[in-house]
Amino acid sequence: MRAWLGRQRGARAGARARSVSYATSPLLASKTPPWRSKLLVAFVGIGFIVLLARAVHIQVLDSGFYLAEADKRILRNEKLPASRGRIVDRNGQVLATSVLAPSFRAEPKAFQADRQQRRQLARLLGLSPAELEERLAENPNWVWLRRHVDETAAQAVRAMNLKGVHEEREYRRKYHEGEAAAHVVGFTGVGDAGQEGVELAFDKELAGRDGRRQVIKDRLGRTVEDIGNSVPPVDGRDVALSIDSKVQFFAYQRIRDAVAEHKAKAGSVVVLDVQTGEVLALANYPSFVPGDRHNLTGAQLRNRALTDTFEPGSTMKPFIAALAMETGRVKPDTVIGTAPGRLTITGSTISDAHPHGDLTVAQVIQKSSNVGTVKMAMQMQPREMHELFAQVGFGQRPQIGFPGAVTGRLRPYKTWKPIEQATMSYGYGLSASLFQIARAYTVFARDGELIPVSILKNEAQAPAPAAGGLMRARAGAAQPVAGVRVMSPETARAVRSMLQMAAGDGGTAPKAQAMGYSVGGKTGTAHKQEGKGYADRKFRAWFVGIAPIAKPRIVVAVMVDEPGGAKYYGGDVAAPVFSQVVQQTLRMLDVPTDLEVRPQIVAKSSVAGVPESN
């Protein structure tokens, strides 16, 4: 019933709509309720408020996220690599420098190359084709193909222009003096951080700081704008060593030849300038090539002159003589009876290699008599001896700012037994490095003063105010450095003349004599310690000396480890090296000769004139 009525009404309304025009439509006449329009306005208003609130939220309250997203798309952080400082010798000769060595990496999923290109790439990078494939398979996104490629190969790789191969700017260290200065200069790891030697000791100064900058890049990767906050790179500072590369090279060559000649295991040479306290050379053999990463392991890396200690043996005797003279117990010509070449102290016997009769103090040093030295030492208090040993640097780490420098061993005097005091007087029962012994000898060279030694060049001008503690240049240090007085100049001079006798005819090391220069020095030969006792057929031979005697300029210490030939005495093995090193070093330092040399110059002018006139 109701449904029928509804249909009836609808049919009627449709019929009317067809006949009624729009203007007269009764629908328009009917009043719309006012809340409708208000509601609509309110909805639109709310809509706008929501949009506004969202806009405020995005633009003001939570703007960071979107700003960051925007920056991600246009801003690029660029690293500005700083190069590591150079290491130069005292004359500015470069010992270590950084050169650009590009590294290549690949993005394997983007890598495209045909078989022949792959083979060529592998060849240029010094890989076998199988190795190249292996590397590409490691990670689909990012693999190193080869680091530190040399420039010519890098150019060829660049020219191939392969997809998915990228170049990274990296630096590599180059060591010009190679193995000759390897122990001093040291080397760096792949990350360019110092790992040994000066590279490690002065890493902070050398390193430099990488800079960075932020730039806006366009679609094509071109930089279009620099955003202000860039940090410029700070290149590492150069470090000037006290080493003279010529002296260093010569010393290395000599010790290398000596080690080979005497079938020894190893050897070291230290050359000190006694006026400035600078280390002119510090050479060790066996050595290594610092640029070649394959062999940077093992015993050859050890800077033996600084890290290996041994009992200084006879080289200690001059200190005992000096102390005895300094305290007025003896004079250089005081006679000491050393017959019959044996002496027993609390049950232990001390003997000389060759028995001597009565010797003066000077002769005791010249002939290196154990008995004579012990007789002088036993007049002293252990405290006196200990004080002198400590004053000249035994049992103390040398202040040289070098990694691995050892302290050696010097026991407190209260624990010394009489026999130990006796053996210590001729250098057993304490230990020191070759470097410490060389430095101790500066006492004699400097008329009784012990001078501080330095591996850095002493410059009159401080290089820069930013210098760190180690880089501090002593003011006016081009002049002789000030030392600490240990003994009187007279005593030091007396000992020097004894040392000259020891290196002269009738001494223990006549082979130490250098042509044209007066030298003085003391040999040492010792059985090597093995475990608790001394090895039977293993020796260590060394020689420490001063030249020229009248006005000392250098102290040279030479040590040869385990000479395996028939000769093993310091006077036969180490002294010839000393002689050659002294002669060359003094010549390079322009020190005038102080001995008459029979000239071997043949006057040729008149002879040469004759053939020319023909």
Binding site: R169, H176, G516, Y517, V597
Partner: protein
């Protein structure tokens, strides 16, 4: 009158805006050039350092010694084959100073 002013300002605004666009384009282009020049400078610096290092590598003591001995037949000088000369001027000056 106001309309004339408004029109003038509008024109001025348009001109200045277009000029700004032009200038900023030019600035970017110049910056790009500057940046490329700087990169070139860095590259040349590195190249110089490399070549310098290579030059020094040719003059190391090891090589000089080898060449002097093998190719030139030289040997280290000793005092025996050295003719020492006395600089008369220097001695006189030293004497005068004394």
């Amino acid at each position: 009158m106001t309309r004339v002013y408004a029109a003038l300002l509008l024109v001025a605004l348009l001109v200045s805006s277009l000029y700004l666009v032009g200038v900023s384009y030019q600035a970017r282009r110049l910056f790009g050039e500057l940046d490329a020049a700087r990169a070139e400078q860095r590259k040349l610096d590195a190249e110089f350092k490399r070549l310098d290092a290579e030059r020094q590598a040719q003059a190391t003591n090891l090589r000089v010694d080898k060449v002097a001995r093998d190719r030139l037949g030289m040997h280290p000088a000793t005092p025996a084959v050295t003719q020492f000369v006395v600089d008369a001027g220097a001695t006189a000056a030293a004497g005068g100073a004394r």
